[in-house]
């Protein structure tokens, strides 16, 4: 992993000697014109400069491997049978303790200003939300880049993120972009596939 000035962390299996992998299988086949369609589809969901200044707690989108700040181009993302790209996930978080501390201080100030002894629950909640939004805006995101290699011939999709939330967001964006769901390879699916392949090769040996 590489840590940058704003908390940039990359898990680039195209550069790193060490990586962790999760495998997926898409639920459909690429269309015949995928070399034209897919770059355009990915451009639509690419991570952009607008996402960088987004005030939301998280932002994600596609990026070009090796240069996470540029959208993908057609000639760069196809290599042999593979479609290569990255998934960028920016996350901001604010310490709950800091929010509470600042909110309590603000509540105290407001009570003194109004000459009251307590605030309503709604007022306290509004203070917390305002403080949280303010602190979130000031926080730099933690940036994570996960690499994706989709073998368009055998359908296998390799993803360098192993965490549950990054996989979930990746799967959701993949389906939105390419119009087909991703199924994570589990022990159960691997077992079923191995047994199915075994049955097929036995049947082929019998008929040969």
């Amino acid at each position: 992993m590489i840590e940058g000035q704003c908390g940039l962390k990359t898990m680039n299996f195209l550069d790193s000697r060490s990586m962790s992998l999760v495998e997926f299988r898409p639920s459909g086949q690429p269309p015949g014109d995928y070399r034209i369609r897919y770059p355009m589809d990915m451009e639509r969901y690419a991570f952009t400069a607008r996402d960088e200044v987004n005030e939301a707690p998280q932002a994600y989108g596609w990026a070009f491997p090796g240069n996470p700040f540029e959208p993908p181009s057609e000639e760069a993302i196809f290599a042999g049978p593979y479609l290569l790209f990255s998934f960028r996930l920016d996350r901001k978080s604010v310490s709950p303790r800091l929010v509470k501390y600042r909110s309590d201080r603000e509540a105290q100030r407001l009570m003194e200003e109004r000459g009251v002894e307590r605030l309503s629950r709604r007022e306290k909640r509004e203070i917390r939300e305002r403080i949280h939004a303010f602190l979130l805006k000031q926080t730099l995101p933690s940036i994570r880049i996960f690499d994706v290699a989709w073998n368009l011939e055998d359908g296998r999709v390799l993803f360098t993120g192993t965490g549950q939330s990054s996989c979930t967001l990746f799967m959701e964006l993949f389906e939105r972009t390419f119009g087909m769901a991703l199924v994570r390879d589990t022990l159960k699916s691997r077992t079923e596939r191995a047994l199915r392949d075994r049955a097929v090769s036995r049947s082929e040996r019998k008929t040969a």
Binding site: F13, L14, S20, L21, E23, G80, L158, L187, A194
Partner: protein, 172 residues
Amino acid sequence: MAVKVQNESAGREFLLWLWYESERNNGLFRLPDGKAVELWLGGRLALESAEGRTASDLTWRGDASEHDDARWALSSGRRIRKAEYLLHMDQQEWRFILDSDSLDLHSLKIPRPERDGEEHPQALALERLCLVEAVTRTVEKLFSQFLERRMSPEWEKTAEPGIRKWLSGARP
């Protein structure tokens, strides 16, 4: 008669089978296509209790194959949750940790590609991906081989007793 393979235990049994077969055959595995590869247990091994993950998970670092206490723990009911393996194939070496829950590869270290340094990035990417796919496909083939053996009647007659005996300290 085909033996039912419980999905939950298949991963754990597979990891144990890999270690056992590796010691039994001096690391040699012959894949279904006839290709010979060498597989050895690496330096990291994580066990869990028979009921699943508990606070008393045991982890070894170092030369696990020399750890008789790891085998003793397995013989007393613990199961392998994760294990590191070294794969030698085509005069190259891969190192990876296999997760028994999913068979995902963690901390995978691939051989240094022939293309390196200032090559065209796509050619380098392709070579690296071929190295990655080589190990993922090999693990698939080994898993398929394990399932074949596990589901055969011979498993209960020879393989299972052999593994039990090996865990109790005898050489396989």
